[in-house]
Amino acid sequence: MTQERTAPAHEGAEPPAQAPLAGSGTPQGSGLAQQVLGSSVGRNLGLVVALLILCGVGIWTAGEQFASVDNALTILRLASVIGVVSVGMTFVITGGGIDLSVGAIVALSSVWSTTLATQTMAEDYHWSVIVLAALAVGTGCGLVNGLLVSYGKVVPFIATLAMLASARGLAEIISERRTQIVHVTDFTKFFRADVIGIPVLVIIFALVAVVGWVVLNRTTFGRRTFAVGGNPEAARLAGIDVRRHTVALYAIVGLCCGIAAVMLVARTTTGSSTHGTLYELDAIAAVVIGGTLLSGGRGTIVGTVLGVLIFTTLQNVFVQNDLSSSVQAVAKGLIIVAAVLLQQRLAARSNTGSS
């Protein structure tokens, strides 16, 4: 049982106005509520502070070059693709699973949607053919993962590891390891446009995050995701079809990978079997430092978005200072460990405080 934290399972903090309605709430009860509320907001606040510190370092070391609207947009554009994948990853991890195949699915979707055949079709009919192809491939891969995990009873780690290998392999076969250039100009024009100064890619990321938040925190599906991840047996006894739910969770990650593939294809104007390399690690890292429990039952979209922004900003600061990607990787590892250690300390403290 995961009782490591007393923070609510999701960031849907109650409006304080609700407290008096409880009527018979004892003084200790409401004191505890504040504590719980405080620690939930506090956790996300901690991530915000970390982000601000990073920005401070950026301004201090790179000055104007960092603190410009252009650079901010660059960071956001960079964060968009991995952000969309991470939102999907939050769902599957909250539901008690893991998906190692996200990067490979992004690659396969990007390749499949930019083959000569697909592009010809897109030119004949409409550029959205490319989008539909990517989404279909992504969701299809996710479905296969989900079916293997819930009906085939293959451990998620193994099932998605197999998908990682074979999806990227398939992408290589289809593309013959060549980078496929996108010729459909309407497609690239649409996704590379700005709306009131904000890149379409960033808007897509924001939309995915908002929809993800609503689904996870405000729908029966989301509520059941917490239950399936937190205590599958209790969920089953409550009448939830745990297996079907699990399939849906993997399909959601797959869909997110499809969306990310479209964004990546638009950003780079290419489809390639090397797209999305190591996305699985970046996504899991962002989800975990965001505060989602790897063991399931607890998840936060806001935390994931902040986690993604922290990593992307870090990357940007390093690039601005001409530091190698190797140094960057070391820093990333240290941040993950520090974040998890910090979270455990905080969890232990709030546990003793409430009992």
Partner: protein, 508 residues
Amino acid sequence: MAEQAREQQELLLHMRGIVKTFPGVRALDGVDLDVRAGEVHCLLGQNGAGKSTLIKVLAGAHRPDEGTIEWRGEQVTLANPNAAIARGISTIYQELDLVAGLSVAENIFLGHEKSRGGLLKRSETRAAARALLKRLGHGEIRVDREVGTLPASGQQIVSMARALSHDTRLIVMDEPSAALDQQEVQTLFQVIRDLTAEGVAVVYISHRLEEIRQIGDRVTVLKDGRTVATDLPARGTATADLIRLMTGREIEYVFPEGPAAATDSKVVLEVDGLGLTKKFADVSFQVRAGEIVGLAGLVGAGRSEILETVYGARKASTGTVTVDGKRLRAGSVQAAVRAGIGLAPEERKSQGLLLDQAVYRNITVSSMSRFSRAGFLDRGAERAQARELAESLDVRPTGVDRPVRNLSGGNQQKVVLARWLLRDCRVLLLDEPTRGVDVGARSEIYALIRSLATRGVAVVVVSSEVEEVLGLADRVLVVREGLVVHEGPAEDIDEHKVLDLVMEGSAA
């Protein structure tokens, strides 16, 4: 309520010849159960009689191998929990089936959330949860609080609110009073009376006979997976009759003859004033070399906790444990093991064995240093020693290289015993040594435990089966709600008296 009036009431549930087999165990062996609308039907039976399996069948969590279930005059199959819930059967499980990370309100409506078009109606959910808790006399439980932070009694209330949240015709309550205090039990009874007045039926499981007298209408007694008596009036049946029905056994186990009471041998284990906050208090006893001491009591009375505290797996809040005159550091398993204490835990598969490892590795895992030279294991010696032990304990099938997983429950238990034998244990703590062991193999395990004792080991046995404690032990301690309520030689007490002690709290 007049008898005739009750006869008129609709027969809600009619189960006939329910059989459920698990690998190695026939948990249900032909159970019949009739429940009428508006009655409180009590299920009685010792631990392992099949009560929990039966209610899981009723809840759709287990599918029976044989037998028929009629619900309101119509034959049904309860293929999954949803099928049972949809028909109006809800269940309050003993092991709490709540999601710790979700709030009180979220748990109550889990699986049948209040929503429109998939979007949750959150304030409505909270209001409804609040109303349910108020009805249970617990309006003070905040519905936004995370369930994992509630104490056990609070979680029990949430479980109940959840059962009430369904539109139900039958509520199954598995020991609902276990985590409640007197006041809360009375509130629960009031809720039950209100429900039955509305025509809802309640299947009530409890070990406390006084509760059954107070709230029950009819009693069905289960024993060894069978219905042995049904349609007994809850108030009119004598305690002695109920206990006789629960204990009368068709299968007799052979218990080894104990040697003449070893009152002169040396005291090996001495437990003095041992206590663990909220679990048990002031437990004192001595075990001599060659003696078997049994702890009897209900599940949750604190027996396992006492063993685990002696072993150092839990840190005692008061008292001391002494082995061979040497006092052990509290809360240190290492100290206990070094002093020669071995524990065979209740959950053999999860706590005791490396299931996928070979038999010999499971036997030698606690004595590894004996077979290592400069860190390298002498696997030949390991195998030879293990083989010798396995043969002397008659572990079957023979051959120490097969994974423990492939052995039967009884042979797995022998492997655990062999491990401690190899370590030359001074004290052996056995928690439910025959759980999951075939009826046939039990006598073998009993003989083995006795032979360990005759080699000079001090043995402490915990068992839910009173007969087992009495048959095996030289001396018996009866534990009720964390306190030792009786201590004495095994031959001075019988099964009825023990059951009386643990269930009513007073010797008849």
